[in-house]
Structures are given as C-alpha cells and as structure tokens.
C-alpha cells in the first residue's frame, strides 16, 4: 500500500442550499464560494446553526447544492465515496460491531483488501491510536475519547483524499478534548491529506488550522479566510505566541459581531435543531 495520498482540492462556486422543515423553506447557504486548499487543514468556524454541517454534507456527497457547484479537482461531486470520509459529531460508529470490526468495515465493504491484509492494517491502526487492548469492545463500552479515536481509525484505514471532520470532539470534556486535538494534529502532520474541520470552538480552530474560514450567520457564506501561518508541528505552547493572540483577537471580533447579529435577528432566525437552540417566542 502506498502512503502517498493524492491531495485533492475542493472548490465551492456560488453554492446555494435550502432546507425545508416545519413546511417552511430556509436558506442555509447563499452564494457561498471558497476553496479548500489541498493538503492543508482547513477549519470552518461560525455560529452554531450556520450551516457548517451542510458544507460537510455537500462535500461528502450526501446532499446536492440547489444552486452553484461543488467541485473536487475540477470535477463536480456526484455522490458519497470512500475518497471523502466524514468523522461525525458524537461518533457514528456502528454500535453492533466491535471496535475491530468497525475499522475493518470499509476495506471489506469495498472488497479491496483480502481479509488477511485488512486484519494486519486494522491491528496496525488500532495500535497507532492506542486501542489495541480494546479491539473486541463494542462502542458503547468505550469512553468518549476512545470512540473518537476508533472513528478516526475507521476513516484512516481507507486512506481518503479528503477527511471531513464534523465537530468530531463535540461532547468531550474540555481536557480530553485538548488531548484529542494534540493527537489529531500529530495524525494530520504524519498522514497529510486534505482536511476540512468544522468546529465552533475558536481555540481549537486556531491551533489546528492552516486556513481559518470564518462563516457568517444564516444564510451563510464565508466571511473571511485567515491564514494562520503558525509553524508545524504545532503544540499548545504556541497558544501564548503573539501570532496566536492576534488571530484570536481578530477572530473573536468577527465572531462576536455574528453572535450579536444573530441575537438581533433572532426574531427571524429559525430553530437550530442540532444544538437544541430554540428561538424565544
């Protein structure tokens, strides 16, 4: 197996996307254009309910844009594929499979590996994420942090060109989260595919990102792209560097503006089901 992942670029061109719920249509993305740079860690950040998950679903091919185009290496995205894999919010491991079987799922489903080589690869990856002792446990028996690591392994074994991380560390406590971030940074710096990482936590966004894409409220588009330009490999000691603080101040300003706008517009804003945030009547 080759370890050189092909690096892919994803381009959003004037994408528009609507969703219907409660028999009312809402515009989620409007005229949204940006480029996900190949081989970089691109972080999307914005107020909750602003359509970040929709962006992930569009790239993954679970949804199609209503307007505009989503291109990967110049070709439009036609549907889900193992080349673009999602690590879901609060994990979507198959609860009826053990940790080991979950990781094996991809290669066996496509039939690209023999059982033997899939087994070897799985064991290698599980060892890499520190779960070799837990391989026969069901997801419900693992801690939150271990579930996330198992899900990472399940995606990585397929060697995808684009990794889509949809708030993968949400729901973890802050300290486990911190460790997971370091862990994830290490993995990214070793394997280096194109990554799209969605989060609503600023600190996490800055320490991970090459490019920080700040989104506006619904209907969303990209408000600004900040190039982080902190050296790699990264670690949390950089959090006190001047560059980091500058970016944090700038992004805080941008996000606070959006938060205020959101609360002003809340009369018109719709319910964000994902976070359980409801508008007061």
């Amino acid at each position: 197996m080759s370890n050189t992942n092909q690096e892919s670029e994803v381009v959003f061109k004037n994408v528009g996307k609507m969703a219907t719920f409660k028999k009312t249509q809402t515009v989620i993305l409007k005229d949204c254009s940006f480029t996900v740079e190949a081989g970089k860690l691109n972080v999307l950040i914005g107020p909750s309910g602003c359509g970040k998950t929709t962006v992930i679903n569009l790239i993954a091919g679970y949804e199609r844009p209503d307007l505009g185009r989503v291109l990967i290496n110049g070709r439009p995205i036609s549907g889900p594929s193992w080349e673009r894999l999602v690590v879901f919010q609060e994990t979507a491991l198959f609860p009826w499979l053990t940790c080991y079987d979950n990781v094996m799922f991809g290669p066996l489903a496509r039939g690209v590996m023999s059982k033997e080589s899939a087994h070897q690869e799985t064991v290698k990856l599980l060892t890499k994420v520190g779960l070799e002792d837990f391989r026969d446990k069901y997801p419900s028996q693992l801690s939150g942090g271990m579930q996330r690591r198992a899900e990472l392994a399940r995606a990585l074994i397929n060697q995808p060109e684009v990794m889509l991380m949809d708030e993968p560390f949400r729901g973890l406590d802050a300290m486990t989260r911190k460790l997971m971030q370091e862990y994830y940074l290490k993995l990214f710096e070793e394997t280096g595919a194109t990554h799209v990482f969605v989060t609503s936590e600023l600190e996490e966004a800055i320490i991970l990102a090459d490019n920080l894409l700040v989104m506006t409220n619904k209907p969303s588009k990209i408000k600004k792209v900040i190039e982080v330009a902190l050296p790699r490999p990264r670690d949390w000691s950089m959090a006190s560097s001047k560059r980091y603080l500058d970016i944090k101040a700038e992004a805080l300003e941008l996000l606070h503006e959006e938060a205020v706008k959101a609360s002003v517009a809340s009369g018109k804003l719709d319910v964000d089901l994902a976070s359980g945030y409801k508008k007061p009547e």
Binding site: N14, G16, T24, Q25
Partner: protein
C-alpha cells in the same frame, strides 16, 4: 451581471412558503391503497374465489349496516359495550396509576408489591373470566373484568416507567428548594410521569376494547361482541362485518378521545411533540 444573478437567486430563496397540496403523490397513493382494499374485497366475493363466496360483499354490508343502525338493538349493543370498556378501563386507571406511582417512587413499596404483580402479569385476561364470573354478582358485570385486567398492566408498567425515567436532578432540585416528600409527590412524581401515563392510558383503552369483545363473545347477552357471534349463528353474515366495523370505529374514537384529553392535561407536552414533529419532518 452579478446583479442579475442575485435577482434570480433571490427569486428562488424568497419563494412563497411551501404548503402541502391537497392532491399530491402521497394522498393519491393513500387513496389507491384504501380503494384497492375495498375493490379486492368486492372482486374476490364477486368471482367467488375459494371460500370468499361465503363472505358478504361490500354492498350487502353497507345495506345491512344502514338498516342495523336504525334499530334500537344497535344502540343498546354499542352502549353496553362502551359502558363495559369504560368501567373496566377507568377502574384500571384508578387502581394502576396510584399503584404505579408508588412502585416507581418508593423502593420499599416496589419490593413489597412488584414481584407478585410480575408473576400475575403473564396470565392472559381471558383466563380470568371464570374467576370474574365467580367474583362478580352478574354475568354482565363480569365481562367488564376482562377490559380491566387487559388495561391494568400496560397502564401500570407505563406509570412505573414514567416515574423511573424522571431525571434524578428534578428530585434533587425539588429537595434543594425545600420541598417535603408530599410536595415532591404532587409537584415532581405526578407531573413528571404524566406523559408516560397518558400513553399507557391510550394503549390500555385500545386493549380494553379487545377484552370487552372477548368477554361478550364467550359469555355475554348484550354488546357488539355478542351480536357478532349471534349473527354468525343466525347466518346473518353481513352483520358480522358491520359489527366489526362498529367496534373498530368506537375503539378508534375512544383512543383518539384519550389522546385529546391527555394533550389538554399536559400543556407542556405540546412543545415537546411539536419539536418532535419538526425533527421527524427534517
């Protein structure tokens, strides 16, 4: 150029709110579904396929049904059955709900009663009929015992679960705010279990109708269940189907009534069900 594009986009985005049309694919399919049910019934009877020749056709059923509704017999039957169901099921509510609340709330009480109830639970309601006949003064009253038993356990179990799934933090908050055990019962245990109790009540009502029909068929002199059985013996086959339809409609109506009443009783539930609807449509 950009401007023109903006306009076209806006036209789509500010499209009028999407309304469900009265005639869309779903309603058409539903109509087809129900129509084909009646049509296949009529055809199977008409062409006398296998033993369908013995069954009455929809037209006969309709004709006989209209005649039946005009007689007093129908109204007395319907009243008798409804009364039995209501008496039995309401008795089940009155006993099972407080019992369930106590079992769910107090471990000691649960230990003392629940094992016995668990042992009695698998005995199906019709098996109680001989005992009911023995226990109750009239044969007619004993029929009401079956819906009682039938409704009792679903209501009881739902009530117990209702209490068990109340978040522990509500009890803690109530104690924090200085409530006595009695106040906790009225302000936390009872309202907290209500949603689950209400669904238990609806289930109980549904099963109660089944119980009443069983009782009437085996040992009744009045009621829709008895009438069905009698029509079979007197070879008035269309009336069998009419009886079945009457029972179906009344059972459905009583379940809907319970659901409606409980929604009125539980105003805070509306918010929950609404958000549930939303998540489903999404």
């Amino acid at each position: 150029m950009a401007n023109a594009k903006e306009e076209t986009l806006d036209f789509i985005w500010h499209a009028p709110t999407f309304k469900t049309k009265l005639v869309n694919r779903n309603t058409i399919l539903s109509a087809v579904s129900i129509a084909s049910l009646f049509l296949s019934w009529a055809l199977l009877v008409h062409f006398q396929v296998y033993r369908f020749s013995l069954l009455p056709s929809p037209a006969e059923v309709l004709e006989e049904g209209i005649a039946w509704v005009k007689t007093n017999v129908f109204w007395i039957d319907a009243f008798a059955t409804t009364l039995r169901v209501l008496v039995g099921v309401l008795a089940a509510y009155i006993i099972a709900i407080p019992l369930g609340l106590m079992i769910g709330w107090k471990k000691v009480f649960s230990d003392l009663t629940f094992p016995t109830l668990e042992v009695l639970r698998p005995i199906p309601a019709p098996a109680y009929l001989p005992l009911a006949i023995l226990l109750l003064p009239t044969r007619e009253a004993s029929v009401a015992f079956i819906p009682f038993i039938d409704a009792f356990f679903p209501v009881l179990l739902n009530t117990i679960t209702g209490v068990k799934i109340i978040d522990r933090d509500y009890f803690r908050a109530a104690r924090c705010l200085g409530s006595s055990p009695k106040q906790i019962f009225w302000h936390v245990v009872l309202p907290g279990a209500l949603p689950s109790i209400s669904s238990g009540c609806a289930i109980g009502m549904g099963i109660g109708w089944m119980g009443a029909v069983v009782g009437e068929m085996i040992t009744g002199k009045w009621g829709l269940g008895y009438r069905i059985w009698e029509s079979y013996i007197l070879i008035r086959y269309p009336l069998i189907v009419d009886g079945m339809i009457a029972i179906g409609i009344l059972g459905l109506a009583s379940s809907v009534l319970i659901r409606y009443l409980t929604v009125r009783l539980i105003p805070w539930r509306r918010a929950i069900t609404e958000s549930l609807d939303e998540s489903i449509t999404k």
